[in-house]
Amino acid sequence: MAAGFKIAEPLEYHRSFLKENCRPDGRELSEFRTTTLNIGSISTADGSALVKVGNTTVMCGIKVELTNPLVEAPGKGFIVPNVDLPPLCSSRFRPGPPGEQAQAASQFIADVIESSEVIQTEDLCIERGKLCWVLYCDMMCVDYDGNVLDACIIALLAALKNTKLPEVTINKDTGSTRTSFCVFDDSILIVDPTAEEEGLSTSHLTVVTDEKERLCVVHKPGGTPLSAEKLQECIGRATARQREIQKLVDKVVHSVKTAQ
């Protein structure tokens, strides 16, 4: 009977849970799903990471190539992030060129990289005006169960940490970023939404902070308005999440290093 209710009246079904301050999967409103991380699993990529946030799985592979810098920016290299949501990861995506959501996600990641200065593009220059690195960061969603942006950023970060530039090695991990993803359903705030929750919510908010707990990006595309206190609450939660993820990434990177 509960299952019937869920399919027939999904919104009512979720509201009945939120009234009790819990969610259909047993989490509290501000609880994240278990996050696991695995790096260096793809040998054909120069750096790779696989992240699972609950069911959501994102794989990031980084390919490093050489190219000429632009004439207008002779001292800069390139970072080319792309997010792909293939039809494999959910029935909502069709084969063919990337849809709006994938395009928006790619652009969002590009903005995050630029504003957070995870990597300074100057560091990717080998010889001014002549030769520089280009990092192709391809993030692919393998299982879409909400909150892909979060998973993409974790995967990107971990993969970057895993990347080794051949020949000329350059120190590149400068700043580090973390996103947190909050969703509002009739002014109730939940974090780390599943695909189902994402579909039913009225507004989305993404907060990106760096390792010094500075705010990098706040992204809220439309939807219902949000009070200043709620925003503060989100940012607070985001910084807490940032520390958790930082710890996880460091631990995994360390364990891989010792294993070698």
Binding site: S41, T44, S48, E65, T67, P86, P87, S90, P166
Partner: protein
């Protein structure tokens, strides 16, 4: 060259640094064991790891790892047919899509599907079509999506194995499990038949692995129904 406005674009040309490394021209040894120590002309298949039911959103899914080749397959459906035409109202339609992740090969691939992907999709379709009981799914389509995460040879063969696993995991009625093996090289008629024979032998070796993975997935998904 058409510009791709739907993705973040990089510089127009770039080369992989591996091109500049001086490497020994890879020559396949004509006798003796293969480069990775396996025997030639024998059923010496790389160790295979298979799992079913990994993707939460899909009806059925499978992951296969053979040596360094890693691929995933998801099955969606049966769902309503997107494009209807007169001919296949009585039975269902099978669609296949096979893609390489850009980081799966030594050379970075583009996101745009090349002709190779389309060829492989078609070949995958041809291998699966006879096995699926499409007449049991009128007016609907079954989608098979394969993603190559890492390519280190025999992708098509493993894609076939993986896809049939995912179909079985999805509960789509199929006549038999299919598995594939690939053998490459210039072939004369005798070596071709010999090659086919070794492949078939190898496939037999794969069956127990496949069976085990499937039964494991079913056991995990559901307890045995009570006999009533």
């Amino acid at each position: 060259m058409p510009t791709d406005t739907k993705r973040v674009r990089g510089p127009e040309v770039s080369q992989s640094p591996t091109l500049f490394l001086c490497k020994h021209a890879a020559v396949l040894p004509s006798h003796g064991p293969r480069a990775d120590g396996r025997q030639r002309d024998q059923v010496d298949v790389r160790p295979v790891f298979v799992r079913c039911g990994l993707v939460s959103q899909a009806k059925g899914s499978a992951y296969i790892e053979a040596g360094n080749t890693k691929l995933m397959c998801c099955v969606y459906g049966p769902r309503e047919m997107e494009r209807k035409d007169e001919t296949d109202m009585k039975c269902g339609k099978l669609t296949t899509d096979m893609r390489f992740a850009p980081f799966s090969c030594l050379e970075r691939g583009s996101w745009i599907q090349g002709s190779q992907d389309k060829d492989l999709s078609l070949m995958l379709h041809e291998s699966l079509q006879p096995a699926v009981c499409l007449h049991k799914y009128p007016r609907s389509q079954i989608e098979v999506n394969v993603m190559v995460l890492e390519n280190s040879g025999s992708v098509l063969a493993h894609a076939v194995t993986c896809a049939s696993l995912a179909l079985a995991d999805a509960g789509i009625e199929i006549l038999n499990q299919i598995s594939g093996l690939q053998s490459d090289g210039e072939m004369t008629e005798e070596t071709l038949t010999a090659g086919v024979r070794t492949c078939i032998e190898g496939c037999y070796k794969l069956y127990p692995v496949i069976q085990q993975a499937l039964t494991k997935a079913v056991r995990r998904a559901a307890p045995p129904p009570s006999e009533s």
